[in-house]
């Protein structure tokens, strides 16, 4: 059962709510394999992609998902909008609502932006990434992909490797995975491990071989060099040497370890090319699954709002 008009993060969802989204997504996956890849579930609804940060994958994925549900889609990128003239987020949101639209998909560089927007508009808000906080649909598609392969999440050992400190993908994954019973390990250079991360029920290690050893899956995060303000980041080659996922390192891992990456890839920085393109990689399946997950999310929030307004 789903009753929320917004999807802001996995932190405030129950295990049952997460499982309901995943089950709904499973049903939506079949739609994309049809010759006519469209169902009329959101016919007459308008989805606005409001992106304050550059994004190709997530924005296109939401757009494809909305269109496969027969919704109309408007893309607003802030470089070419009145945000440039100083309009606040709340004003922008209220104006979008005044256009009688139904769902705002927001990506913002400030943590909490989606929550603030949701408090000021009546239409649905879906968080497509807010600062270092959450990226719920990315985590949902990661978990969906894990569940598809392993059949269950409970008891799975998942390692998240990379820039944990700046990663909303890591945070959403940790919340989602631990709620569903997975054992999560985070691995990064000491400088990129946030203080207090143990309180999220994860194991912390600075040793990449330790992180890979027993893992069923490893989620390799992108090194977000654009977020490096204070020189905490290692140099690219240094990082690859100490933390890069290579064939050599995987020799000590489980043979069928699943390799995941949220994209975009920095080949030769966090992951070697032959691993990214190798047999264990599900990186492109993640992209495909993202559509089913986002269709489910858009459908569920829209339906919840319709129901609440009746």
């Amino acid at each position: 059962m789903w009753v929320k008009k917004d999807l802001l993060g996995l932190d405030d969802l129950t295990k049952e709510e997460i499982e309901f989204i995943l089950a709904t997504a499973e049903s939506f996956k079949e739609v994309s394999s049809r010759s006519i890849k469209k169902v009329p579930a959101l016919r007459g609804k308008t989805v606005v992609n409001l992106f304050y940060e550059p994004s190709t994958r997530t924005r296109v994925s939401f757009e494809v998902a909305a269109k496969r549900l027969s919704a109309d889609v408007i893309n607003i990128s802030t470089e070419t909008s009145s945000v440039r003239k100083g309009e606040t987020l709340i004003d922008t949101g209220r104006n979008i609502q005044a256009l009688n639209t139904d769902i705002i998909v927001i990506r913002h560089n400030c943590s909490g932006a989606a929550l603030m927007l949701a408090r000021h508009v009546d239409i649905c808000v879906v968080n497509a990434g807010d600062g270092w906080h959450e990226h719920p649909t990315q985590a949902l598609l990661d978990i969906f992909t894990l569940k598809e392969k392993f059949g269950k999440i409970d008891g799975l050992k998942v390692s998240i490797v990379g820039d944990i400190a700046h990663s909303r993908v890591a945070r959403s994954n940790i919340w989602g995975l631990t709620k569903l019973g997975a054992k999560v390990t985070v691995c990064a250079p000491e400088m990129l491990i946030p203080v207090g991360i143990e309180q999220m029920n994860v194991r912390v290690t600075n040793d990449i071989n330790d992180a890979l050893k027993d893992a069923d899956a490893v989620n390799v995060l992108r090194m977000q060099f654009e977020r490096d303000a204070g020189g905490a980041f290692p140099k690219q080659l240094e990082y690859f040497k100490n933390f890069g996922i290579t064939k050599e390192r995987l020799k000590n891992a489980k043979k069928d370890i699943m390799i995941m990456h949220p994209g975009p890839l920095n080949r030769g920085v966090e992951i070697a090319s032959d691993v990214a393109d190798g047999d264990n990689s599900v990186i492109l399946e993640q992209v495909t699954n993202g559509i089913a997950v986002r269709m489910a999310v858009l459908f569920l929030v829209a339906q919840a709002r319709d129901k609440n307004s009746n």
């Binding site: 059962m1 789903w2 309901f20 089950a23 709904t24 499973e26 049903s27 939506f28 079949e30 049809r34 010759s35 006519i36 469209k38 169902v39 009329p40 579930a41 549900l69 489910a296 459908f299 829209a302 339906q303 919840a304 319709d306 129901k307 009746n310």
Partner: protein, 184 residues
């Protein structure tokens, strides 16, 4: 449909239900001159079980294995957001090409016709069948759309105050159809 307590009267029991389905299987074969190009698609939830049973009878009669699929019409409903309960979306599983096939669309109870309208849209999004024919176990009347069945297990005139409870072994552990008075 909620599961009402068995206060109502029986319309079909195990034997009469089996006979009705056997007759429908014969009618389907007669009208389509055999089982060639025939496919059966059941509407979730109980239409699926009836579809599988019809395919079983057809196999018994004709010896032919015909493809059976499952249709979830949730995304095509005209009352999404209006319904008091929120229907969960389930999978559509039709693993064969329906183009140029004769499709037998199967549901348990035909009432307003709105589910069938949604099912027709859903089917046509999957391809262009030669024909779509409708088979229902119970036709209880009260149509709101111009839809009529091709094969009927039993016609049961009902009032709007009544509901029809179809129970099948696959989902409910027993084969029976009852008419139940709705609570006021």
């Amino acid at each position: 449909m909620a599961q009402p307590k068995a206060v109502g009267f029986f319309v079909l029991d195990k034997e009469t239900l089996a006979r009705a389905l056997t007759r429908m299987a014969h009618e389907i074969l007669e009208k389509n001159k055999g089982a060639g190009d025939l496919c059966i698609v059941g509407i979730r939830k109980r239409g699926v079980y009836i579809a599988a049973r019809l395919a079983g009878y057809i196999k018994k009669i004709e010896g032919a294995e015909i493809p059976v699929g499952t249709l979830d019409v949730t995304l095509y409903r005209d009352d999404l957001g209006l319904a008091e309960f929120q229907p969960a979306v389930h999978k559509t599983e039709i693993n064969f090409d329906i183009t140029d096939k004769n499709i037998i669309l199967v549901d348990d109870v035909l009432f307003t016709g709105r589910t069938i309208r949604a099912a027709l849209d859903a089917l046509i999004d999957l391809g262009r069948p030669k024909t779509i024919q409708l088979a229902v176990l119970i036709d209880r009347g009260h149509r709101e759309l111009p839809i009529r069945p091709d094969y009927v297990g039993k016609n049961i005139p009902t009032s709007q105050k009544q509901s029809v409870a179809v129970r099948l072994e696959e989902s409910d552990g027993v084969d029976e159809v009852l008419i139940v008075e709705k609570a006021e």
